[in-house]
């Protein structure tokens, strides 16, 4: 424990009671700059809007008048009865299940290949040309999300898109004019693919950095013990970069519970049978087009709760899985 420099070392045996230390200029300015100011900014820009949104969610505010009526939890009741909003909530949950999992698994697999998956002779190293792969797989992350959405919108175009062009070119004529984003069966997987495509490279680089901090001797030892590549990845690499995986998982989850930019670019109307509709799209429509800010605020609160629940779930799972191992180590 590091002693705080501001706490003078007790010079008397008696515990001091209510004796205030003098408010020197140093102390006041320190408190102001490092405590009051950030707290004020946090309250005004984070806590207050949150409280305000929650309050609005209990009213029938239209968004265009100064007055509103308190209606209790009616908005939440209405959301539960609104099948389209529930569809959008389900879609977000679906995204939060699939996107983080697939992205993390892919990113982890690629990171392993690049760092420790190389030749089994000599020092532990990645595949040949790994730095090249690392650079190109990072490319998608440098493109803004909206641009990614628009690029893939063109790729998926039924008549002139590159994807159907290639598929029909290799003889799969069934894909002529096939609407990837316009068929309820494929719209969601296609949209998920776009999000995953955009993020695998970034999380791969993150995992590469984490794996580099793992001492090489551990891999050497595992190899001497006869562990194969898969075993090494699962039993050595994964436990050692557990925290990075958890962080990646949660950030991807938050992204998947939003996913607004991608979905708005790929299918602004929510897709066939609302199969790609996500909560923020519905929120925006309810607030600004339908003029029901109270209801829209309730949607926002539901989104925040969903995100917190997701984070809590990931922490719990990690603790349950990790707690056992810590016990083993002790």
């Amino acid at each position: 424990m590091i002693e705080s420099p501001l706490v003078p070392i007790a010079d008397t045996e008696k515990p001091r009671k209510k004796k205030r230390r003098p408010w020197t200029f140093d102390r006041i300015s320190f408190v102001l700059v490092f405590l009051v100011l950030p707290l004020a900014i946090f309250s005004v820009f984070v806590v207050w809007p949150f409280v305000q949104a929650f309050w609005y969610s209990l009213t029938d505010w239209s968004g265009f008048t100064p007055d509103m009526n308190f209606i209790g939890l009616e908005n939440y009741q209405k959301l539960l009865d609104d099948d389209i909003f529930m569809t959008s909530l389900r879609n977000n949950v679906y995204l939060a299940i699939v996107v983080p999992f697939v992205t993390v698994v892919l990113a982890f697999a690629l990171a392993t290949m690049i760092t420790v998956g190389g030749s089994s002779y000599g020092a532990t190293r990645g595949l040949r040309g790994s730095s090249f792969y690392r650079v190109i797989s990072f490319f998608p992350y440098t493109i803004p999300a909206i641009v990614i959405g628009l690029i893939w919108l063109q790729m998926f175009d039924p008549s002139n898109g590159l994807l159907n062009g290639v598929l029909t070119g290799i003889g799969l004529d069934g894909f002529a004019s096939y609407p990837w984003l316009g068929d309820a069966r494929t719209a969601m997987p296609a949209s998920m693919f776009v999000i995953i495509w955009g993020f695998v490279g970034f999380y791969m680089v993150l995992f590469v950095a984490a794996i580099k901090s793992v001492p090489g001797e551990l891999y050497d030892a595992a190899r001497i013990d006869g562990a194969g590549r898969l075993r090494t990845a699962l039993s050595v690499t994964l436990p050692l970069i557990r925290d990075n995986v958890q962080t990646a998982y949660i950030y991807l989850g938050i992204l998947a519970l939003d996913a607004f930019v991608y979905m708005a670019a790929l299918n602004p109307g929510g897709g066939p049978e609302n199969s790609t509709l996500v909560m923020p799209q519905r929120l925006l429509l309810t607030a600004f087009e339908k003029g029901q800010f109270g209801l829209a605020s309730a949607m926002g609160v539901v989104m925040a709760i969903a995100t917190l629940v997701f984070a809590a779930l990931v922490f719990t799972v990690n603790r349950l899985a990790g707690g056992r191992q810590e016990g083993v180590r002790r």
């Binding site: 820009f45 809007p49 505010w61 609407p179 990837w180 316009g182 939003d258 923020p280 600004f288």
Partner: protein, 472 residues
């Protein structure tokens, strides 16, 4: 020991960061919407200048008029044009024309704060729902009763029925400036070359579909954001077939309104077109302007139902010599309640004057100026679309076949001009798009189409928090 401690610290920190991250999307979405208790009545709107013949609304001298205009397909320069005329007529006054593409997002805080602009063009994807601000805008009947700059009463210079789309609950709350004709559009040169004629009934349309197929083309195509153009065509056709009874049933959200025989006959005919493969496949996954280009540039399909903005919208992507023309929607058979020539036409681009604006007379004066012959002719000439002011389009239509065809259709329809507002009024288009995309793609039957549209209607009717506006 120390390692464990570190882990805990990092986790706590992470947890805090995550909580903040979870809250952020919420706060950023609503930070801009802080409600304000500023309810001070703006009494400046009541004070004004003296009313006179040149100043019928009593705009104060040297005042400023603040106009926020939707910057869409028509741009904002036509308002700026009128503003220049107005500044010339009222020396010392200034008009500020601000373009925006997001009317709702930009004006919402100003409405809450009681400081809205003096004139708004409440149009586009992000427009404010009419019912939402109905009691916060002026009744614009006095603008119609005023004289225009040429000295004729404005009401007498306009097309019939232009008040209908802007009238809610008996209040003329929005003046729609641009005349929009909803029709089925085609390439007259292509039709002439192949000896085809525009179909007047659905049976003729289906026969034309067979012809198109022979020529390796489709009858219709659609884009995913514009699937409800087919709903617009279907409703128009059903109203012509079944008469006002159908229109009122739909407008007043009646139970089983989509099951009326006229509506069903139209849906059945469209179902046949879908089943026989006369719709170009893949529309549910095609961006709508890309789909429209397949019609106007590649000529993959013969017909496209749309509003008269289509010519302007596709100007750069229309094949040379396309010679776009339009015709009124098909009817089911000869027994239709209205003639085939009856036209779904409505004024669009709703201009509204908020009551709490600082210079309400200024807003109305700017509207009056826009309705002058000079400003209206300028609009028709530069945008190739007629305004609600009659006789501003010369016989050559400034070189546009579509514009001439619009004026011809309006003339042929005479008093048989109709429109409806329930889709826009209750904002159901987004939900209906989903249903229509499925139907046009052949994924759902006429029965499913009917029941799902009825569900959307019923949901609005049964929601007490949505203000209903009865139509008679």
């Amino acid at each position: 020991m120390s390692i464990e401690k570190k882990t805990v610290d990092r986790r706590t920190l992470l947890r805090g960061a995550l909580a903040a991250a979870a809250v952020l999307p919420l706060s950023s979405a609503l930070a801009a919407c802080a409600g304000s208790s500023n309810d001070s009545d703006n009494d400046s709107s009541t004070k004004g200048g003296k009313k006179s013949e040149d100043n019928p609304f009593g705009m104060a001298a040297d005042s400023t008029t603040d106009a926020v205009i939707f910057d869409g397909g028509y741009g904002t320069d036509y308002v700026a044009f009128a503003a220049t005329i107005m500044q010339k007529n009222h020396k010392g006054s200034t008009v500020k024309v601000s373009p925006t593409t997001e009317i709702s997002q930009e004006l919402q805080p100003r409405f809450v704060a009681g400081d809205p602009p003096d004139l708004i063009d409440n149009s586009g994807e992000n427009s404010i729902g009419f019912a939402t601000i109905l009691d916060q805008v002026e009744d614009l009947s006095d603008v119609l009763d005023a004289e225009n700059l040429e000295g004729t009463k404005i009401r007498d210079t306009l097309y019939e029925g232009i008040e209908a789309p802007g009238t809610f609950d008996g209040k003329f709350a929005a003046l729609n400036y641009v005349m929009t004709v909803y029709a089925v559009w085609y390439s007259s040169s292509l039709f002439e070359k192949n000896g085809w004629t525009p179909p007047k009934t659905w049976d003729e349309a289906i026969a034309l579909g067979a012809e198109a197929k022979k020529a390796g083309k489709y009858l219709f195509l659609w884009g995913k954001e514009a699937a409800t153009y087919y709903q617009t065509m279907a409703i128009g056709s059903a109203i012509k077939q079944g008469g006002d009874e159908v229109r009122l049933a739909l407008e007043n959200l009646e139970a089983n309104c989509w099951s009326k025989p006229a509506v069903q006959a139209v849906f059945e005919a469209m179902g046949t077109i879908v089943d026989r493969g006369y719709m170009k496949p893949g529309g549910a996954g095609t961006q709508f302007t890309a789909a429209q280009a397949q019609w106007s540039n590649n000529q993959d399909a013969l017909l496209y139902p749309s509003g008269s903005w289509i010519e302007n919208e596709m100007k750069d992507q229309t094949k040379a010599g396309f010679d776009m023309k339009g015709f009124p929607e098909m009817v089911v058979d000869d027994s239709s309640a209205m003639p085939w020539e009856a036209l779904h036409a409505a004024a669009g681009e709703p201009f509204q004057v908020p009551s709490k604006g600082k210079n309400v007379p200024g807003g109305k004066e700017l509207l009056r100026t826009m309705l002058s012959k000079e400003a209206a002719t300028n609009f028709a000439k530069t945008k190739l679309a007629p305004t609600i002011v009659k006789d501003t389009v010369p016989a050559d239509g400034f070189g546009s076949t579509a514009l001439v065809s619009q004026t011809d259709m309006l003339k042929a329809a005479g008093p048989n001009v109709f429109t409806w507002t329930f889709v826009d009024l209750y904002g159901t288009n987004v939900d209906q798009l989903v249903v229509w995309n499925s139907f046009l793609a052949g994924k759902s039957s006429v029965k499913e189409l009917t029941s799902r549209l009825q569900d959307i209607t019923d949901k609005v009717r049964e929601d007490d928090s949505i203000k209903k506006i009865p139509v008679t």
